[in-house]
Structures are given as structure tokens and as C-alpha cells.
Amino acid sequence: MNDMTPTREERAEKLQGMGCRRKRVEDIRFTQGKGQYVDDIKLPGMLFGDFVRSPYAHARIKHIDKSKALAMKGVIAVLTAEDLKPVKLDWMPTLAGDVQMVLADGKVLFQNQEVAFVIAEDRYIASDACELVEVEYEALEVLVDPFKALAPNAPELREDLRGKTEGAHGKRIHHNHIFNWQVGDKAATDAAISNGEVTIKEMISYHRTHPCPLETCQALASMDKIKGELTLWGTFQAPHVVRTVASLLSGIPEAKIHVIAPDIGGGFGNKVGVYPGYVCAIVGSIVLGKPVKWVEDRMENLTATSFARDYHMTTEISATKEGKVTGLKVHILADHGAFDACADPSKWPAGFANIVTGSYDFPVAHLEVDGVYTNKAPGGVAYRCSFRVTEAAYCIERAMDILAQKLGMDPADLRMKNFIQPQQFPYQSALGWEYDSGDYPTALKKGMETINYRALREEQKAKQEAFKRGETREIMGIGVSFFTEIVGAGPSRNCDILGVGMFDSAEIRVHPTGSIIARMGTKSQGQAHETTYAQIIATELGIEADKIMIEEGNTDTAPYGLGTYGSRSTPVAGAATAMAARKIRAKAQMIAAHLLEVSDYDVEWDIDRFRVKGLPEKFKTMTEIAWAAYNNVPEGMEPGLEAVNYYDPPNMTYPFGAYICVMDIDVDTGVAKTRRFYALDDCGTRINPMVIEGQVHGGCTEGFAIAMGQEIRYDEMGNCVTGSLMDFFLPTAVETPHWETDFTVTPSPHHPIGAKGVGESPNVGSVPAFSNAVNDAFAFLNAGHIQMPHDAWRTWEVAERLGLHD
């Protein structure tokens, strides 16, 4: 060794492996406008499809006349439900066990529902021709309010289900009822609530909103009639599942379907399901033998594809006088719109809403969910959250604040008192989950100290006094949120999508010169998989991350996986990546021993090489081993250096965090200013701190939007009144608060690298922090529970109701 020999630290640093703030490699193309999205793909002879949509929320279709549209020059075809019937694609299955119209079949059930699909030579002709399709409607009574859905005289929405008393998830009790789902011990919970020394009961609504990715949903289908092969490019968070579904629906063998998800401009759950636009593009291409592209516009995206939330959660907690919780009872009224198009694992009609006990040690709990139909867009997708975890976290975090107020306790102290303690992990929750690991008190304590919580409470008290004396028109709120998520779906024993277990996969191939191509069954929509998966491999295999290519989204080349949503990429495909890398390292160890002429057990791993135990100067680097794998392997060993792993996780992972929001509200305008927002996340092992911070910034920004005004709202006629970005609140950099991020590290004990997933935590955790801050600001005036969204006019109305403007 000489001075030029790199130290161990230098060797490790060069890898840019786990823990490194490696710059996002995909940003080189994204920031230069060189990303390749579906709409960038142009094929010779490509046609465009566009939808005729219903102006009514509920109406019978008396007649469709497409003759004028068909007569227009450049129009190739106009599809209606009648045209889809012979190929049995007029309806399609949803992921939630329901069926959904592809094109309106006899009636329409929500405004902007797809009625006809016009295929033309270009986008402009298609759009013009849509105006020429004449549809005669007979308006029907509209049902918008989910609380009226189960009234005896409520209009019947789903005539196709008439007489069906068994749904996909058990008994239906009413024509607008979808399912009833119960978890927990009802009798014991009822007893706890009725014996509670202190109890609260509140209906906590999480309003309807929308993931609103910047790139809308789109697809390009190209059927090669000669080869009998279908290629489908699309905005798919789960391309492999799309291929399976496309094969099942079309009858084309799966091997002859090539599904490709190119770069995706944000998904947030919007791009998990299958939409009529995809089906119509496929049918169009199969029938015409030409490529057919469908690109949704912003208003279509907001009004027709996949809303999120719309959960109305009546929540009861019982506690002792000292503030120890004794029981939790939640009933959720779930509004699914016209079709139950939830994108949850198939057996979970309300996703993982039974994480609603949160971070607290509830001895007993009971959860009941009733799903109902209304004349609104279908869905119920997980908007940057793991299957209703966001709703559940909001429910418990709001309810804990309500309880704290009733007890006259500080909300942070109440949480501290009821936390599941570090020594209780693995922890069995009253609603059936096994929490893998956590240290909640340390995280909250760190947050409170960093933000100087007690001093803020003192300041708040002084401000309240000043407000009462008329010296200020501002009130101050401190919102505490301590969330526990359940992500990484999931173990195939309880998680599947249409029967396919929710494992995920990685395939790693080391080339002779020591560079690597690795492919996963997931699909990044901006989460930086190309950066972070490479870091896992870099650490596991001692190859520089810059020499590792990550590829996803092409079903021909990538191993089968269930895709990216529910924060599952790191917990599941990340685990598969580490496991596949370890298989390669095991083989590399044998090759190294062979090259060094010692036994397998006499070599040990050292960052980027195997060395002979006790003789550190005798080693073979991974690059040398890679070369040898192609020309000098031990006798009897297969040449080459690659591995595949399909990882079926033993459990979910349970990331958690402490978020604190400090807010000042102008009672004269209702305008709320976020003074500070502190986000501490514990996502276990941190692969790339910078990517984590970016995820937290993005998720908090969405949470800020949702809590403070972002909503999908309908008038009483079922017209969507927030269907454009003029009305749907998407904050800009100017409105967005500054985020202070922090962390603790409690690795997952069952995950190969201890990582838990973080992409969704900030959306889950920030919404209750914002909402609690608004509620906290008004608490000293006994405002009662204030529903979201907290936009200025609604907040002003609270002040008005409290007489603050008199």
C-alpha cells in the first residue's frame, strides 16, 4: 500500500451507496425537457380518440346519433356502448370487485361520464366531431349527498345491480349500498365506550379531493394485426397488472401484449386503475389496426378519473379521567361515486383503514365501514397514501385533539401518555395489525424540543389574552400530528390484486466490465427509483452507483411486479433488490475465493471487494470478480453474474412521524399563514436523505393544499364546480410554507436493509397537523370541531359564527 491507496472511507464514498445524498440521475433529462412521456410518442398513421361526455350527473340516454360526426372528414369511427357489447367491453371490472361502464350503457351516472369515443385523424378533428355527436338525455333525480344515499326513497343509481343482495364484500342492504366491512371487537368496544369516564363523539369528514398529477392519464395502443401483438404505452403505476388485465379482457395471450410505462409525470394513485380511455384506445386499435392515442385534458382528469378520500368518520373515544384511552369506535360512510373503483388490494374494501388506532395503545377498538353510491365520479384511490391510511390518520389525530380539549390536557401530552411504547414492538393492534418497530416518545420529544413547543404554547396563551383585549385580530394555532402508517403491501397471504399476490421483484445483471443493469417490477412516477435502487445495489455489491442502470416499466424486460403506490417500492422491490444483490454477492464470494486460491470461508466482504481474512492486501474487487465471472469461474459453476428475486414481504412496514404546524389566522379575512412547519419522519434506514427530504417537501405541499382548500365539490345538480385549476387549489411556490425536516431512525426488523418507505408519510402526516392547527387556534373560543378544507372563506365563517366580527 502507498499514499495513493484509497482509504476504506474513500472507497465507500466513491460508491455513492446507501446514505449518500446522491443527486437524482433522472433529473438530468427532466430538467432539460428530455423526459419521454406517453404524449411524446408518435407513431406513423396514429389516430386520436376523444370522448363525448355527459353534461348530466344522472340521466337516461334516449338516443345517440353519430351520423353527423361520422360524416365529418377525417373521422374514422365513433364508438358507443352498443359497439363494445359484441366484444364484451361495454363494462369492465374494477379493482374493488365492482363493474364499471366503459361507455354509458343506457344511462349516465356522473357528470362528464364517457358516452362515446370519437376516433379521428387528428386531435382537432376528434374534438370538433365530439360536438357533432347528438345525445338525447332524460334527466333523472340526482343523488350527491352520501348521507342521503341509503334513504328509502333515494333514487336508484345502479340498475345493473338490481336484486343483487350480495356484493363483492358481503351483503348489500340498499340499492345504493356497496358493502359493509367490520373489524374488531364490537361488544367489548361498546362496553368500553359506555363505561368511559370521559368520552368524545364527533363526525370527522375527510372531503373529496383529487391527486391531480401534472401529467394527466393517457394511453397509446398499437395493434399489429399481422403478428397479433398489442403494444400499449400508458401512464401506468402498475404496468404488469395492466398487461394481465388487458390479456384477460381481450383474450390476447399475455406474451403478445407489450405494456410500456415510459416516464410518468406524477401519479399519486391517479394512475393505478384502468380507465375507459385506455380500453377505448385498445379497442379502437384492435378494430382499426392502427395506433390510437388518448390523452386526457386537465378538466377530464379532475372530473372523471379517480378522486380520493370522501370518507365521513363518526368517531368515539373513551378514556379515563387521567387521559388513558380505553376504547375507539369508528363508523365510516364511504362515498365511492357511481362505481366502486377503489384501487385497494382486492380483499380490502376500505383499504387499511383499520390502522385507525394510530400510534396509541387502544385495548379495544371497532371499525365499521359502509360504502355507498352517489352521482359523482367513481373511485376512491389512494392519493399519495397507502389505501385509506390518510383518512385513518386524519381521523385518529383529529379525534385525539378533540379528546385532549375535553380533558383539558395538552394534545402533545395526551399523545405521549397513550403511545405504544418502544418495548411493546412487535405490537399487536386491537384491529389486527402487527406493527414492526417504532420509538414514538423519542420522536415526539425531539420535535417538541426542536420547535420549542412549550414556549410556543406560552406565546399562544399571551396572544389569546391580547385577542380578547382587542389588541390583535390574529389568533395562533399549534397543530400536532403523530402518525403511524402501514405501507409496503404486502404479504401475499393477505394482499392481492385480482388474485395476483402483492410481491415485487428485481433482476440484476452484472456485465463483464462491472457495470450493472437492474430491472424492477415497480414504476417510478418521479420518486427517483433510478437513483435510489442503484444506491442499494452499490452498497450491496460494491459497484459505483453511477455504473448501475435502473430500468422499469417495460413488461417485456422487467420481472413481474405489482407496481408503485402505497409506498411499496422500497419496502417490497427495494427488499427484492437487496436480496437479488446478495445472491450475486454469494456467487461472487465463491469466484473470489477461487481466484485467490483459498476456501470460500477464508474470504470476507470489504466494501467493494472480497479479501482474504487477516491478509487485507490480498483481495479481488467486485469489478475483477465480474470479469472472472465470464471467463474464470470455479469448476462446475455456471458462468455469468446475475440474479432475480421475487420478494414476498413477511409483514408490512410501519413508518411514523411527528409533525408540528404553527399557524396565524387573520379572523377578519380567514386567511391562515403557516409560520412554521416541522416534519420529523422515521422511515427506518435512509437510502438517500436528499430524496427523502424531496419526498417530504412534495407530500407536505399536497397535504397543505388538501387541508387548506383543495377539494372536488359538486353542486346539488351534481355539477363538479372545481373541475379546473382556476378553482381546484394547487398551491404555487409562493403560497407553500417552508418545510423544516428532521428524522429519527428505527429500522424495520424484517426488511433486508431496514427501510420502511417514505413517499406518502408527508401527505398522511401533514393534513392532520394543518387541520389541528386551525382547530387549535379556535379552541379557546370553544368553536367545536371544524371540518376541512380550511380555506379562507370557511375559516372566516367560523369566526363569523363565533361573533368575532361584531
Binding site: 374534438s127 385534458d297 404555487t732 372563506w793
Partner: protein, 288 residues
Amino acid sequence: MIPGRFDYYRPSSAQEAVALLAKLGEDARPLAGGHSLIPVMKTRLAAPEHLIDLGGIADLRGVKVEGDTVVIGAMTTQHDLLTSKVIAEHLPIIPETSALIADPQIRYLGTLGGNVANGDPGNDMPALMMCLDATFTVLGAGGERTIKAREFYLGTYYTALETGEIVTSIRIKAMSKATGYAYEKLKRKVGDYATAAAAVVLSVSGGKCTSAAIGLTNVAETPLLAEDAAAALVGSSLDKVAIDKAVAAAEAITNPAHDARGTPQYRTKMAGVMLRRAIARAMTRAHG
């Protein structure tokens, strides 16, 4: 989000533009910055068959002073207004308002003429023009005439412009250095139209308000000139009683729509709050 078919023209003089408009009739529309017109074309709420782009007419862009009057060409952009020394010196309330309109990209293209001719009560410039008692010079095939801003707005998207006429310039008397002024706008985010906004211009002499004008944005079918509110201030020492009276008078003439910005009651009250804040700020700027 795909507009219907249209033909595009780019005349090089205002005369040529109005001749084209006269020839093509009802189905033709002038195009300025396009930031109100193109969005409504994309949603097919408007489908003009002919667009007459005024962007090629050099004479319509720019700011000059004629005696005590500032003359602003209709095609002068919001960005031009924000960076013009003449405007900063003589009409500082204009850049204060421009800065609250949309975002920088839109302000590079959006014009004052388009903003005032559009007829949308959500536009910020119309109420300000009424407050400043601006005069619009308009040109049609039959010749030139002038229309007072205060007589221009007849209803939502309905103005005193006749079909085929274009606004060529906006004439505004320069403000005296002693004038107090402020534009207060409540909006949900950058790029949002006002929940409510108020323009205030006032003069003070010997502790008394000697003149005042008030404009209100987006709280009725048209921009509003709040004359009673202004009258309540004149002669007063701008004390709480006078201001309360002005605010009540302003609130009394509003009739806002219910939209995602809030209920009519809220938006009316916000017109009052914006007015109160604008008066307070104008007072700190007024000398005399």
C-alpha cells in the same frame, strides 16, 4: 382543451385591423395577449372564426405623457407597466395593481387594452380605471371616439364597445405626488382572480379628506365605482366613523357570485375589509 377552427390575421395598423373586423363581422375577435381569450377558446366557451392579432401594430404599444395626461397604448403589457418609469412616476397605483395580476409569464403577454376590454369583473384593471377616471380611445370602421371607463362596463362580458371597435389607448390624468393611493386584493394564490379587491385614491388637506375615488373588483357583474363610499370620506378626517360609513356604503352595492372563493356574504365582507385596508394604506401615503 382543444379550440375550434379559426383563421388568423396579423394586421400592421389599427386602421387595417378595424377594416378586417368590419369585413369579417360578428365572428371575428381581436386578439391581444390572449390570456383571457385563448383559455375560453380552449374550453370552447368562445369559438371565434377569425382572430385579428393586434400584436403586430407597433403604434398600439407604449407609454407617453401629453400635458397632464398619461397615454397608454392598448397593447402595452402588464410587464411594460411594471417597468415603465413614466408610470412609476405619474401613476404608481398601476404597477401596484399589475404586480397582483396573474404571474410573470402572463404579465409578459397580457395587455392593458385586453384587460380593460375583456369585460370580466374579475379583471383588476377595470375597477382601477374607473377609480382613476380613465378615458378609452376606441377606433371603429366609422372612426374614432372616446368612452369614459366609468361608462364602459354594462354587464359581464358586455361593454360599451360596438362590434368591430377596438380600444387603441387609455388616457389617465397623472396623479399628484401628494395623492394617497392603494390597491388591496385578496386572492387564494398567485394566478387567482380576486376574492375581492379595492382601489383607493384620495387627497388630504389640513387633516381633511378633500377628494376620494374607490373602485371594487370582482364583487358584482361589473367592476364597481363606489361613489357613496367615496363621498362618505370626503370632508371627513378619515376617522373611524367615516371609514365605517364608507365600508358600509361599499358593501351595500356589491352582488358577488358564489364560487370557490366563497359565499356572496363572505366576498361582500372581504370587499369591505380590502377597502378598509386600502384606505389605511392610502392615508399613510397622502400628504397635505
